[in-house]
Symmetry: C2
């Protein structure tokens, strides 16, 4: 497969996400402003708002898919995105808490084309800034006037615990050579599905949807999360460094057993077996070695499987919304967002 052109609707999705970021950012900045000076500086740096000295910067604070999702869902339910704003702020805070802690645990030194928090300020700061953002998420939800805030807070806590469980599995799997595809999917559901699920669910909860509708949106977000992770794993191998901010074949270089790799090891026949042997080689891989491993994943069928599976998850995301009483214009936006997630930058 070669890179495909962005579909016509991608521009609309990008606009929707930008609108979401704009709606959420004032409250997000207000929340961050409550932090003590040092924590505020580090959090603002991480969010792309300033450089390491606190000078305003226009770094990327990410695509803000999670708050975008919360607002789209709130709009689909209530006709306006506004009730979703505190939820959008909360999920973005939890997402960034997990990124800061994950970078520390994985010892990743780069994120969004900049050095990571622990790499600049050390372990203790990374632990504390992450803790502070998680805590702020609770505060923001606890202070919003919505009668649905407690329910939203509880849903977010449950999802956060699942997110942590996903990272626990990720860390554990690094010590093991026999991780099955089912275990790997379970991890991805936790690491990515849980919070995207909660992002959609919180939009519905805060907009006052009934429990069945909230649950339908949660399932929509979860499936979308799995599609997101599959695409992320594809980008981790075949993504263009200038877009991903990571070296070519980054995940292979890091010997990461991502979903397409694990599928290849389990179902990839003899190329899969060759790939398994490649992973046991203790020597640092050369550029040719990495190219070779990527070709093996492709020959084993892992790349094709991951692309098809991402599409399947997008289909399931849509299916979760059938019968949730979403108006067709909103439904179109939600379908486009799911499609965008599955096709970004591939």
């Amino acid at each position: 497969m070669t890179a495909v052109e962005p579909m016509p609707s991608a521009t609309k999705v990008v606009d929707l996400l930008a609108r979401g970021r704009e709606l959420v950012e004032p409250s997000l900045r207000q929340a961050i402003s409550r932090l003590d000076e040092h924590t505020r500086l580090v959090a603002s740096y991480h969010l792309g708002w300033c450089d390491v000295h606190g000078r305003p910067a226009s770094g990327s604070s990410g695509k803000a898919i999670r708050p975008g999702l919360t607002l789209l869902v709130a709009e689909a339910v209530a006709g306006t995105p506004d009730p979703g704003v505190p939820g959008g702020v909360a999920v973005e805070l939890v997402h960034n808490f997990s990124l800061i802690h994950d970078d520390l645990m994985d010892r990743d030194t780069q994120r969004r084309h900049r050095r990571t928090v622990w790499a600049i300020w050390g372990d203790a700061t990374a632990v504390l800034v992450g803790d502070a953002l998680a805590c702020l998420a609770d505060e923001v939800l606890g202070e919003c006037e919505s009668p649905y805030a407690p329910q939203a807070g509880h849903a977010l806590a449950v999802a956060t615990r699942e997110l942590i469980r996903g990272q626990v599995l990720d860390v554990a799997f690094e010590q093991r050579s026999d991780v099955s595809l089912a275990e790997c999917v379970d991890m991805a559901v936790g690491k990515t599905g849980a919070l995207l699920g909660a992002s959609a669910q919180l939009g519905a909860i805060l907009a006052g949807a009934d429990p069945a509708t909230c649950e339908a949106f949660r399932r929509y977000g979860r499936e979308l999360g799995l599609a997101f992770q599959l695409v992320d794993d594809l980008l981790g191998i075949w993504g263009a460094p200038e877009k991903t901010g990571k070296p070519v074949f980054a995940d292979l270089l890091a010997h990461k057993k991502t979903l397409p790799v694990v599928w290849s090891l389990e179902y990839g026949g003899s190329p899969g077996q060759e790939l398994a042997a490649w992973f046991t080689d203790p020597e640092a891989p050369t550029a040719d070695d990495l190219q070779y491993a990527a070709v093996l994943v492709e020959r084993a069928g892992g790349r094709e499987w991951a692309m098809a599976e991402a599409e399947e998850r997008v289909r399931r995301a849509g299916k979760a919304l059938d019968g949730a009483g979403v108006q067709s214009a909103n439904r179109e936006q939600l379908d486009q967002l799911a499609q965008f997630v599955a096709e970004r930058q591939l």
Copy 2:
């Protein structure tokens, strides 16, 4: 000063704390049981419930002062400790989240006479288990049926952020030689006062007290927290290793600038200046050096100041409750608890 005998009321306080532990433990165990297998094992080990392999153990899970406080306050307000139970579970979870992260950041290898989580399972596990316990605290409050749970959850989030701020200061102060007593007190208010304040406040909130009463209890807990920290700092220098679980002069050995030390540096005249010089010596201190530094803190007046200040904080804790409409029997228990905190093991 030599060790004093426990006062007659100490036994009663110990009984009260034991009762609090018993009331809270079933819900605490229920909460921990929801965690994934690995996180559950590590959390159970940390709480003294099992050994590293998960075999039941009767290790110490600490004095459980925080949940004890929550229950005592709930009882003082509502006549029964029961409404305070979810609050007691939540504050104990937040406390243990902060211990696990602090041990990692401070690279402490021993706690409660056992190896710390990061020292056994590594940094990533310590980060994740701490995160999971913080998250469980939200879940427990979010699920309790009390109409006051959202208010309790918000109060706990605010206190947790202050707790984190205290630790941020603690980490920052390690890099500085010019920390003032005021800054050091501010740090202690965050690190110890905030959560003890919230422990008392949550008892009042969940028991349905009016805002002024909740605030009075919060101030009571905060002052008690500062007394607690002062005594902790005294024990860190002069505490008996078999009781503290730390080596003699542990905090001096670690070159920790605790409250009695910082007071001595700022107000301790020429012994204080000698102490300042001692702290700049890069050589690892011998047993004699440590003894010498401890004598300097004493000569400078830091030990006496810390003891008097702890008593003063206990007095202020009591004063915070004047006019809060606490029945005399309950008031006696709360005063005894404060006194116990200030006098434990000295």
